[in-house]
Amino acid sequence: MRNLTEAIVLENNAVAKNIYRMTLKCPEISRSAQPGQFVNIYFSDRIRIFPRPFSVAGATDEILTLIYRVVGAQTHQMAAWKDGQTVRILGPLGNQFSVESSVVSHVLVGGGVGVAPLMFLAEKFLQNGIDPLFFLGVKNRDEMPDAKLFGRLQTFYPSSDDGTTGFHGTAVDNFLSRLPQMGKPIVVYACGPEKMNAALARLAEEYRFVCQISFERVMACGLGLCQGCTVKKNSTDAEAGYLLVCKDGPVFRSEEVIFDD
């Protein structure tokens, strides 16, 4: 059940360079939010009119957690929000990661701030007594979120493009290096840059594992109203349509979609 409501900022702190973690008192949304879903944040200014979508990075009965990177005007504003600030917010929106039983290895692969939805998913796994394998890749040490966040994970595999922290290489390289030892069947849950997602999709085909990817698109509404947030459907028929990231997604199985659009 999605709700449009006013949430109250509880904490809002940097957990890495330009990356913040915000907790909000927002029971109307946090109660029903599932990993993979996102929320719309609305801003009062009329210069930039789109709401901004953010994955749910954690949810309890009362509290919603977001993890966001400061990339432009609105996230810049958000970074300045103090506790007590009220925030116009709508959610939970979109579909969710579907956790399949009879799976041996649950593999989370995140790039940069793609960590957000995976944190929530990992949390759920832990609650259900499952230890997921968590691969997180960042550019460099500065962008690696505070280790505390991953404390409860048995198997956390950090990596950095420049080798300044963890494995030297991408999260995908890191995952690939350990793939042989993993118990099958494997399901990969991914969120990161389009490049990373595409690479994983190719591997999923090659190594025959299920890959669920959380997508991003610029969104005007987040509600299926504008038809703006499309990914191309993977289909033989030429007139194949598009999927809406906000409504059909944001999570798609790698074989459902075509990347080069």
């Binding site: 789109f50 038809q227 499309t230 349509g241 598009y242």
Partner: protein
């Protein structure tokens, strides 16, 4: 207690002047769980075409200063699926449903309209002859008087229901086109569709819209809509439905004063789900403050 009802020509009565703008509210059922749809005097559907349309590749939308550019390309489920999937929910909508129709060819428009005639719950039609974002069947139908003349005559021959032609601001003189609509028996004209707009990413040098040039909408274009309505109001007697950049009750009053008998809310639906409720509240207050008994008293009353 102001009377909010409005009459759009002899054939369409609305309990209030707030309609949804085509393409910005899905098929009318998207938000049923979030907002009280009965706030709207009417719902205008996404443009419907004879066959389903996938629409344009991404990116389809981009933000601009106080507005946005879109190039959806009339993506829609097609008229048959619309009737099959949406008639039940829309039949129960306590306002008027206007089907917006687009097409690649005149025949496509006609065929689509004919199919919709079978649905008694459809109060009328808004013919989109002004879409900037499709190669065929877009604005060229709405930009050339002689073509518009022919197709409006044809549409009129196909239905006795409320028939409204949606006009584009991307023309030298919108009045000539409105006059054609009136001459051929259209019950109303709606304006404005989006304004040609483009934006380029200075890092990648790529256009921020797949079709390079798309349609500009939102608060930024409100003065353009108001100007077109004032001009047209002076040229024709058929009612005008105003659309373009409306975000609040004051905007709605401005459109009514300019000459609109009703308005459509478009882009605002993306950033303020409560717009309709806030607008109705404002109209009540405004009516009291100005001592107006009915919003009909406002239509075209600007001292121009």
């Amino acid at each position: 207690m102001i009377d909010l009802s409005t009459q759009i020509g002899p054939k369409l009565h609305l309990k209030n002047p707030i309609l949804t703008a085509s393409g910005t509210f899905g098929y009318g059922d998207e938000l049923a769980d979030l907002i009280d749809l009965s706030r709207f005097g009417g719902i205008v559907t996404k443009s419907l075409t004879l066959h389903p349309r996938a629409g344009n590749p991404s990116p389809r939308v981009t933000e601009t200063t106080a507005g946005m550019i879109n190039s959806i390309g009339l993506a829609n489920i097609g008229v048959d699926a619309f009737i099959e999937q949406k008639s039940e929910s829309l039949r129960s909508f306590p306002g008027k449903v206007i089907a917006n129709i687009a097409g690649r060819t005149e025949d496509e428009y006609a065929e689509t309209l004919k199919k919709l005639e079978s649905q008694e719950w459809i109060a009328g039609y808004e013919m989109n002859v002004s879409c900037p974002n499709v190669r065929e069947g877009g604005i060229e139908f709405g930009a050339k008087p002689e073509i518009l003349d022919r197709i409006v005559e044809r549409f009129r021959g196909l239905t006795d229901r409320f028939l409204m032609i949606k006009l584009s601001p991307n023309v030298t003189d919108i009045r000539i086109l409105a006059e054609v609509c009136q001459k051929r028996g259209a019950d109303a004209v709606s304006m404005i569709n989006t304004v040609y707009g483009a934006a380029i990413d200075i890092k990648t040098r790529k256009p921020l819209i797949n079709t390079v040039i798309g349609g500009l909408s939102g608060p930024a274009i409100k003065p353009i809509a108001v100007a077109n309505i004032i001009k047209t109001r002076r040229a024709v007697d058929i009612p005008i439905v105003g659309v373009g950049g409306i975000t609040c009750g004051a905007d709605v009053v401005e459109f009514l004063l300019a000459g609109a008998s009703a308005v459509e809310l478009g882009t605002v639906n993306f950033f303020n789900l409560n717009a309709a409720a806030e607008i109705l509240e404002f109209l009540e207050e405004y009516g009291v403050a100005q001592g107006i008994g009915s919003i009909a008293e406002l239509v075209g009353k600007a001292k121009v």
